[in-house]
Symmetry: C2
Subunit: 470 residues, 2 copies
């Protein structure tokens, strides 16, 4: 027998490991593993990899790449540090008779969906942050997960079967593709929005996308969005939310509203949660589910705390059982229980953090304005949605990727191109500013300037093509 | 239009929430959610629920149900407590210049599959515990997860497609059904073992099960087992492991070896990991994957640390990407990094914990012997596999469930009936002894005695039917 160089499984996946002899067959992996084993092609993930090996540091690597592709907020770590140093031991000693760390409470098994004490303070916190203090959240509807990623996946598992589809107003958070599609194999159908509508989705666009999907035999099960929007940074007003709920009602589909940035506001607008629209009593609540978490608003993605909040009893029961795969360690739960129970700390933290976000945002957009670059006026989030179309050699996907590459390799800044967010208008880039010091914001603007200047060479000031912004 | 009382989705799931009016349709949930929303029917989970509402406590609820259904070890929490009280702050301050908690290291995002420092000490720890110090484990093959449950699920995702099947020597750990079947929808085919073989699976039984599955058109993708065995408590010897690997090679399928109890030994036998059989160089390694974790051997299920260990590059790459749904919080990683790096503590802990397990096991089986109950001589694990067949009114599933009910409601002890573990011989029960004090072991034996005596009424001592053990 002639040894073959590769073998293929049922799913047409050709294994990468060569067969060394006919007796030693290469064992096929699943189609999920085969797909995930391939290198990431999205610039969103390529950017992470590039930064990983050459990240900027003001002292140790001043020529490195500045990371603006990661939605992370480090502006208020000093406050967290202070709190933790003061309260860590106490938080882990809660309920112990000798004042020592309460291992009996931390080590054993507990319900995987979280301890009730933490659900209670989380519900109160959500009522403040998402509901402005006027909407009640019920601890019995809270399911805790290790991060918002698993919360999104769980909701996807609970409302859609393999092959079903979600409508997702685009541009949308690139992570949704992983959360909803890696393992759940549902389809995300981007519903285009326009810069002229401030990237707010219209019911017309939803209807068109829905009808088209139906025509193609797709089973649309829900509407998925981040509010505040990632990557745009704006928020839905009450009327839009009401329209979205009516649309979902008409089509008898679910709504998953990812509100993880609700407390990371830097504008003056009031945030309105989908909870406010279904509140207080409505059968429509059964189709509405909220994702929340502390990764953004408390600046602790490393602590991994996410929330599924639902009014649907079946979804709640199922979600709780699914937390066996994503439960939050008890020490983390105890620390966060203490932290969220410390009303004064939380209030001060939220206020200061929002002020710092606002300042950082202002400096960043001031810089953009000086460069003559447009952006969407944001209200919340850790990023700014910037129009760099005029720096592109062609107004299409190719031009956008070329510019992204230039930004990465010449300007040495890593940003997320709109295409990675399924934005249909080329030229938009998401720039996360909340892990930059003031100096680094200025450096970033300086570096973008290099590109701006390279496409707009100084000349006599005439209106020739080379001088005109595209 | 007449309002209907319920609506049904594509999967034939009838939603439990009634339709209140024809305009307000009940929104269907996924088939996964519909299945999970139903009450648990396995005695394994019913037992948990019963104990939850009426758990025994020597002072506050002395008449409550003693939990022997949960595989948890609390025998060495005192050692953990001492270590944590001494080292917690230092472990969380690692790398900080001011000696304070290093928030810069704990709060931000990190690779979801775990920090390299922890992978390194974990590989060393596995080399000790699984490899007896002679087998090397490579940190690059370690993927960290929040508990062993997600590790099992991830491996299932990586080797099997929906509808594929695993062969699982039975009796097996009931949790496998959830880990592998809730979301992955693979089939677990129990391969029967006999008490006369000490419940060790034979290659003949595997071949029969494999051929039968093939005949039924099933796609067998792997062999799944816990070694040391849960629920039996014994271990595979090297020859059996070699045979299992040969079987897997012949059928070109995977092996998932869950070795989470490798360090919870109380017998004199040496543990042999599947790693030893594939070591040091063999193409067969590509089909072998190990699950490990700290929930059992370090008595910290509340800390949620699990491990996927694989030699298969595709499986490793895919597993790492799947950890976005089950990543370990950084504070937990830092604490465990310190703990596992503390060689003296770990060595003392393992030794003392094993001694304590051995003692508790001895007292328990002594009690069983006095009651005239048989059991499998165990080597590792937190439980004992007990033959209570002679206490049953009929030697079948019904008799087993009746006895289980009697144990729960009359003797007030919660155990796992063999049927819940897919054991084919009725009458076997798994009794976890590692969360009981010595007094509680004695009380448990006392309580079982009630049942023993109720089926063996004192009489003249003749050999009449009522006196003879069935
Ligand atoms: C909209 C949105 N949802 C969820 C997440 C993931 O949050 P976590 O880190 O808690 O999993 C992110 C992170 O960027 C996000 O932007
Ligand atoms: C064989 C086996 N694997 C995995 C687990 C789950 O471990 P964890 O709590 O780390 O998820 C258990 C727990 O009982 C087990 O017995």
């Amino acid at each position: 027998m002639v040894p073959s160089l590769s073998s293929s499984d049922n799913n047409g996946h050709v294994s990468s490991t060569p067969d060394t002899c006919s007796d030693n067959k290469v064992v096929p992996v699943s189609s999920i593993a085969a797909a995930l084993a391939k290198p990431d092609e999205s610039p969103y993930y390529i950017g992470f990899e590039k930064v990983r090996v050459d990240e900027y540091h003001n002292v140790s690597n001043p020529e490195g790449i500045i990371q603006l592709g990661l939605s992370e907020n480090t502006l208020s770590l000093d406050l967290l540090k202070e709190w933790l140093n003061k309260n860590l031991n106490e938080s882990l000693s809660q309920g112990s008779s000798d004042g020592l760390i309460n291992v009996d409470k931390l080590a054993p098994y507990q319900q995987f969906d979280g301890i009730m004490e933490l659900k209670k303070v989380m519900a109160r916190f959500m009522s403040e942050v998402l509901g402005g203090g006027t909407i009640e959240f019920d601890p019995l509807q809270v399911v805790l997960t290790c991060g918002a990623n698993p919360a999104n996946e769980i909701l996807c598992n609970c409302v859609a079967d393999p092959g079903d589809a979600f409508l997702v107003p685009a541009p949308y958070y690139p992570g949704f593709n992983r959360d909803m599609k890696i393992r759940s194999t549902v389809e995300l159908i981007p519903v285009p929005t326009l810069s002229s509508d401030n990237f707010i989705v219209t019911i017309e666009a939803l209807n068109i996308a829905y009808d088209q999907a139906k025509k193609q035999g797709k089973n649309v099960k829900g509407l998925l969005f981040a509010n505040p929007s990632n990557p745009v940074g704006n928020m839905f007003n009450k009327e839009t939310l009401q329209n979205l709920l009516n649309f979902a009602k008409e089509k008898n589909i679910h709504i998953i509203s990812d509100e993880i940035y609700a407390g990371s506001r830097y504008g003056d607008d009031k945030f309105i949660s989908i909870a406010e629209v279904v509140y207080p009593e409505s059968i429509e609540k059964d189709r509405v589910h909220i994702v929340y978490g502390l990764s953004k608003d408390l600046c602790i993605p490393g602590f991994r705390l996410g929330v599924v909040y639902s009014w649907n009893q079946d979804v709640l029961t199922a979600s709780k059982k699914l937390t066996r795969f994503c439960s939050v360690p008890l020490p983390i739960q105890q620390i966060l229980l203490s932290m969220l129970s410390d009303g004064k700390f939380i209030q001060d933290f939220m206020k200061t953090n929002q002020e710092r976000l606002r300042k950082r945002y202002s400096i960043f957009v001031e810089g953009l304005e000086k460069l003559g670059l447009g952006y969407v006026k944001g209200s919340a989030g850790l990023y700014c949605w910037v129009n760099m179309g005029r720096l592109m050699s062609s107004q299409d996907e190719k031009g956008e990727l070329e510019l992204w590459d230039k930004l990465m390799n010449i300007a040495k800044i890593s940003v997320t191109p709109g295409g990675a967010c399924h934005c249909t208008e080329p030229g938009w880039f998401r720039c996360c500013f909340a892990r930059l010091s003031v100096e680094d914001v200025c450096l970033t603007i300086e570096r973008i300037k290099r590109i701006v200047e390279s496409v707009k060479p100084k000349c006599c000031g005439c209106q020739c093509d080379r001088n005109r912004a595209k």
